[in-house]
Amino acid sequence: MHNPQLNAQGQLQHLLSIEGLPKRILTDILDTAENFVGVAEREVKKVPLLRGKTVCNIFFENSTRTRTTFEIAAKRLSADVLNLNVSTSSQSKGETILDTVNNLIAMHADMFVVRHQQSGAAHFIAQHVPPHISVINAGDGRHAHPTQGLLDVFTIRKYKPEMHNLRVAIVGDVLHSRVARSEIHALTTLGVPEIRVIAPRTLLPTDVEKLGVQVFHNMEEGLKDVDVVMMLRLQNERMSGALLPSSQEFFQTFGLTPERLALARPDAIVMHPGPMNRGVEIDSAVADGKQSVILPQVTYGIAVRMAVMAILGGGNAA
């Protein structure tokens, strides 16, 4: 089956999912991102790679944080940025997703950054744009959040360059998490040999082990000797109901506390895609502790998004 993310020459045309991307493309994005990390430290935080191009952030689902990081990344590449919060505009008036997209095509946007509550929405949009437009998936339903997956492996690579020798644990609501899926695909593609998921059965997708992970229902066992702990956000609406009895019980059983973190390797790093629920999935002592790399993740996130935009926009040197 043709991979809709690649063009006929095997180059990245859209970034929709990590799954199915060859290692060379992931490595290329990460290496390019390395060059962009320094841009933010310059006095003039801009490079002219996307000058004259228009990047359109189309957010069918609200997200200030992700939208902001894409906006900063695009602006640092000198692109013009258009932000569209569709959840509060046209769709509530009954406009279809295709109508919205066609209107933006007519405005001559060059790149779409799309977030939508439905899995597959980014693929759908990519199928309906002309070939000169690139689509970046900024999160579709439970399916994928590829730039998050990339910034996570970028962060891991910074602290633990020996990727082929790592033990990584992903903890929490994997079932509803596009972040977890993208992390798993990024880690497996880059050759991380042992990936664990730690969660109660109610928060794991069916047949999750077929994605190449080991399943643990016990936090202590799952964290033993890992090099990286990747926490997931637990959405408020899932904290009490048929999936979980309460946020307190979740913290008691799967919350990352200093005592539990001590079971991991002494030099293990702790990650979280944000926004964090302190006292639900993570203890503040850990979130703010010396093993936490949560804020560097945010910084690297901009460099990684710049790299993706630069590669899709046609240039890849800072």
């Binding site: 899995s119 597959g120 309906h128 339903g141």
Partner: protein, 430 residues
């Protein structure tokens, strides 16, 4: 009108017929096979040499979308699609708008269908009013109006006491219930088979157990009440096994599978292809193999089209928001024969699954070429290669997972009630 179909390969499993012979039609009936009856003067002579002459197909589930969803399809467009697909008798489920739960609606549908003089339309009445699963419909009056059985379409009767009483009531009159087994709680918001593919794609899954749990309940109530139960559109290996066991224990139960489920698996969803958004969801290769095996050993009695025309806009949406269903009347015959070839089953035996068997389940006289039977006859070109695309399909619904697939075999002409109502452009009539 006297018609002779000359030199076609006649196939009819009901009389172990598979021979090149002439078929004679007069006054709407098949009057002879082989030799012309005395004083027969043909007004139309159809040359079927090199082609197959088959009983008109009988479809257990085709949505015509009238009343209520004329933007998706109309009675006329879908009956024309039926003719183009060689389907001369079809049962339509009650999930129209309004629901087929009142005799007046059924009479109107029967009347409108009859005035087109195309396929025979056999409505399935709703088991419960508004398909809400609470109050029984007037099954007796609905039967008098033309219903051949009763169905809940894709909705469930959640309250098992209502389910039990519906089975008891139908059993009192000997009516057949056409039920799809699905637990609505386990299936809630699901759009794909709950397995590896749905997990990868982040689609909400419907577990196989949603079907088996509901099926076990129905089989148990059917056993207690003695109702004629037909299980519609089986989708899992587990269900095939449950039905196999029920049949072995002597229960009177029949079952069908849709042509989509006989050919597709959840892998065909690919990168969120909304054409493969179907109800029930297509499942794994293991399930598909079990469905095929179930058809071969008689556990599953029939293949249906589950024809569900959907307008283009309703498919041009992200997978989970797209409307489920496939347009299939025109693909039922070639795709059934494709399965037969793959399963090394003779065409005549495979055809029984879309003619004789469904006719028996519906309790209608159709699906055979017996002398004296209503002349519903299909001339089929088994060699013709064609590409499935929206312009070729007569159905208003252009939604099929087989779009752009190459298919071998196409209906050349369809005769219903002794009248030639459909033919390919180049088909010569003398």
């Amino acid at each position: 009108m006297n018609i002779v179909i000359k030199q076609g390969r006649l196939m009819d499993a009901s009389q172990q017929l598979d021979q090149v012979k002439d078929l004679y039609i007069s006054a709407g009936k098949i009057v002879a096979i082989g030799e012309a009856p005395a004083n027969f003067k043909a007004e139309q002579t159809l040359d079927a040499s090199g082609k197959w002459v088959l009983p008109g197909l009988v479809d257990l589930c085709a949505r015509l979308r009238e009343p209520g969803s004329e933007y998706k399809a109309t009675l006329l467009s879908e009956l024309r699609a039926a003719m183009a697909g060689g389907v001369t008798s079809l049962a339509c489920p009650p999930d129209t708008d309004p629901v087929l739960d009142e005799p007046g609606l059924v009479e109107m549908l029967k009347h409108r269908a009859k005035s087109q003089a195309l396929a025979h339309v056999y409505p399935l009445g709703a088991v419960t009013r508004q398909l809400q699963g609470q109050l029984l419909t007037e099954m007796y009056a609905l039967t008098a109006a033309g219903c051949v059985g009763f169905s809940q379409a894709d909705t469930a009767i959640v309250d098992t006491q209502v389910l039990w009483r519906a089975f008891e009531y139908a059993a009192s009159f000997g009516y057949t219930l056409f039920m799809r087994a699905e637990d609505p709680y386990l299936a809630k918001n699901g759009v794909a088979h709950d397995g590896e593919v749905a997990s990868r794609l982040g689609l909400k899954g419907i577990p196989s157990a949603a079907e088996s749990i509901a099926l076990q309940t129905m089989l148990r109530i059917a056993q207690a009440t003695g109702v004629n139960l037909h299980i519609a559109r089986v989708s899992t290996a587990e269900s095939v096994e449950l039905i196999r066991q029920a049949k072995q224990s002597g229960m009177q139960v029949t079952a069908d599978v849709s042509i989509q489920h006989l050919h597709l698996t959840d892998m065909d969803i690919g990168f969120f292809d909304s054409m493969v958004h179907l109800t029930p969801p297509v499942r794994t290769q293991r399930d598909r193999d079990a469905l095929r095996a179930g058809l071969l050993d008689g556990t599953l009695d029939a293949i249906c089209s589950d024809h569900t025309p959907v307008d283009d806009d309703a498919k041009a949406l992200p997978f989970a928001e797209s409307h489920p269903g496939a347009s299939a009347l025109e693909l039922l015959l070639p795709l059934t024969l494709k399965w037969a070839a793959q399963a090394k089953l003779s065409p005549a035996q495979a055809l029984a699954k879309i003619t004789q068997a469904p006719a028996n389940i519906l309790g209608v006289h159709a699906g055979n070429l017996q002398v004296g039977a209503t002349a519903d006859v299909v001339i089929y070109d088994p060699e013709m290669e064609w590409r499935v695309d929206g312009r070729v399909l007569a159905s208003q619904g252009k939604n099929t997972p087989f779009v752009n697939h190459s298919v071998t075999g196409k209906v050349t002409a369809t005769i219903t009630q002794g009248k030639l109502v459909f033919q390919q452009e180049n088909f010569a009539i003398v």
